[in-house]
């Protein structure tokens, strides 16, 4: 088992220097803002993801949390990938990420869609860590739904 498959430089980078961390209020007072707090009961990792949207574009995705490098880096990548995107497009990325993580290492990720998210391909080989990577993405899905934008299909990690 190659540890550097799991802890790719990109993941460690996002973990040590997270992008867009911290919960923020909406810039545009007309935006719907909602958040979701998810916990991984097996390890105690926690993340809160907040979505600000006008119903079409996800103006901001902010987050805060505590947990392992995988869950925290995943939140940073989520922010980077989906912030400022149209809702429909964001959910395509969401779906691709979930598919990658549910693929037991058999799915080849598309870098054009997933950007830095491709670094998580190795995590999919570690069943115990898939939940860590998915934690912020599941919280995002709930937060977006609460803010009134559509959701991608149910996933069982």
């Amino acid at each position: 088992m190659q540890l550097d498959q799991l802890y790719q430089e990109i993941i460690l980078d996002h973990y040590k220097r997270p992008h867009g961390r911290g919960l923020r209020d909406a810039d545009d007072p007309g935006d719907q803002v909602a958040e979701a707090h998810h916990v991984n009961p097996t390890c105690g990792d926690e993340v809160t993801v907040r979505v600000a949207t006008d119903g079409t574009v996800l103006h901001d995705i902010s987050y805060d949390g505590m947990g392992c490098s995988i869950s925290q880096a995943s939140a940073s990548v989520l922010h980077e990938l989906l912030r400022g995107r149209g809702a429909g497009e964001a959910f395509e990325v969401h779906e691709a990420f979930v598919e990658l993580m549910s693929g037991r290492g058999q799915v080849t990720p598309d870098e054009d869609v997933l950007g830095d998210g491709v670094a998580f391909a190795g995590v999919a080989r570690y069943p115990a860590r898939v939940k860590c990577a998915l934690l912020p993405w599941m919280a995002f899905k709930d937060a977006a739904a609460r803010a009134g934008v559509g959701v991608s299909p149910e996933v069982k990690a």
């Binding site: 088992m1 540890l3 799991l6 802890y7 460690l12 097996t42 390890c43 105690g44 990792d45 926690e46 505590m66 947990g67 392992c68 490098s69 995988i70 925290q72 570690y126 860590r129 860590c132």
Partner: protein, 434 residues
């Protein structure tokens, strides 16, 4: 360790019973495994222990030669199975010095054992004619501690919700010891039961219970000790402990999963109402009502885990053969070695007692701000198996201000070389996350 000269005529260090760890390791087939290209270094025995060949053989032999249901057959196999099952009960009773074999109730695990006591209280609380020692209502109190495993918290929270009683708890000191300073205020005439962990599954602390026992007796309450972590590692004598109930689980003491023990003072078990109803626990049944068997059968409804009980008897034989005092001493030496070795790792913070006194061979720690999941993952890549997370003791994590901890725990087959492998692995963790 520094040794101090002990005057002659006193017991010397060399008088301590010892055993050959290499020979013990040869009894455990799993210890020969490789993990991720490295020899297995198993430091997770507080989670579950491994099983020696002697126990695996008995499990196999039971199904291959003596399989039958217990306590209900006149045929030969039924008699053999019943003798084996009841024989295991007698071995376990002797192992903990129970005054009577009938005081040993087989359960699924410690969690079920605690729940049986809690639900017996609950059932008694609904019946005005029940023994008042088990009846709870508003104004009554149950006392636990901040050091408990979830299995010794949640059943009491639920009991208090059902009965209107109040749950209170002992705090934990910064050193990871039970804070007994408020004992007199905490355990009072309102207290019906005090349920405490004997050895913490996360801090390793072994609680000195005599002051608490004395107070419990003074106010007329009952005392349950969760001995899940102590029975596998220390000589336990229920008479000496002077508890009312103890619980423990087979899989942490070289036995199989699915078998645990509730020990209770005979007179108390006899006064307790049943919890699970069904076969084996009755005296007679009519369509309108039933009367119940005496303990332990009263608390063992349905077909029990027969092979598991028999194999737990074999585990007790195995541990007794090596000697619980020798096992305790082996782990004490390992703990002293590990505390010193871990103390040399930069940025490492130990939660719980940092001296090998009043503690067992279970050490939880943080390595800088590296998350325990990441610590565990890097260690696993080197074959080192530790537990990471909240260890089913979230209040302990909260008490020390962390969401999770990394835990190394030892047993009779653990070696100092394995502790060295842990320390070397932690260096590797620091490199990855530096």
């Amino acid at each position: 360790m520094t040794s101090i000269a002990i005057p002659s005529g006193m017991p010397q260090y060399d008088d301590v019973p010892r055993f050959d760890v290499a020979r013990v390791r040869a009894d455990f087939p799993i210890l020969g495994r490789d993990i991720n290209g490295h020899p297995l270094v198993y430091l997770d025995s507080a989670n579950t222990s491994h099983k020696p060949r002697q126990v695996l053989d008995v499990l196999d032999e039971h199904y291959a030669r003596h399989n039958a249901n217990v306590s209900r057959s006149v045929h030969t196999l039924g008699t053999e199975a019943t003798e084996a099952y009841e024989g295991a009960r007698a071995k376990i009773a002797a192992f903990i010095n129970a005054p009577s074999t009938d005081e040993v109730v087989f359960t699924k695990n410690s969690t079920e054992a605690i729940n049986i006591v809690a639900y017996a209280f609950s059932n008694a609380s609904l019946r005005p004619d029940a023994d008042p020692r088990f009846r709870l209502g508003p104004g009554d109190e149950v006392v636990i501690s901040e050091m408990e495993h979830h299995s010794n918290i949640v059943p009491w929270q639920l009991l208090c919700e059902r009965t209107g009683a109040t749950l209170r708890w002992f705090p934990v000191t910064d050193q990871g010891r039970l804070d007994e300073s408020g004992l007199e205020d905490l355990v009072t005439e309102r207290t019906k039961i005090v349920s405490l962990v004997h050895m913490s599954n996360i801090l390793g602390t072994v609680n000195a219970t005599s002051r608490i026992t004395a107070r419990v007796r003074e106010v007329g309450a009952l005392l349950l000790l969760d001995c899940s972590q102590s029975v596998p590692h220390l000589p336990i004598d229920v008479v000496d402990l002077d508890a009312d109930y103890i619980v423990f689980t087979g899989h942490k003491m070289c036995g199989p999963t699915g078998i645990g023990v509730l020990w209770g003072r005979g007179e108390l078990l006899a006064a307790m109402p049943p919890v699970f109803g069904g076969g084996s626990m009755i005296e007679t049944v009519t369509m309108a009502r039933s009367t119940f068997a005496a303990p332990p059968a009263r608390f063992e409804a349905g077909t029990p885990p027969i092979a598991e009980a028999v194999a737990l008897g074999a585990a007790v034989d195995y541990l007794t053969g090596i000697g619980m005092q020798a096992i305790q001493w082996h782990e004490k030496e390992l703990t002293a070695y590990a505390l010193e070795a871990l103390g040399s790792v930069p940025d490492l913070r130990i939660f719980g007692p940092t001296v090998p006194v009043g503690r067992g061979g279970t050490i939880s720690f943080a390595l800088g701000d590296v998350h325990p999941h990441d610590v565990g993952q890097v260690l696993d890549s080197l074959g080192v198996q530790v537990r990471v997370g909240h260890h089913c003791a979230k209040p302990v994590c909260s008490r020390f201000g962390v969401p999770a901890m990394t835990r190394a725990s030892f047993y009779l087959y653990t070696t100092t070389e394995e502790i060295d492998a842990l320390v070397a692995g932690l260096e590797q963790v620091r490199k990855v996350f530096d």
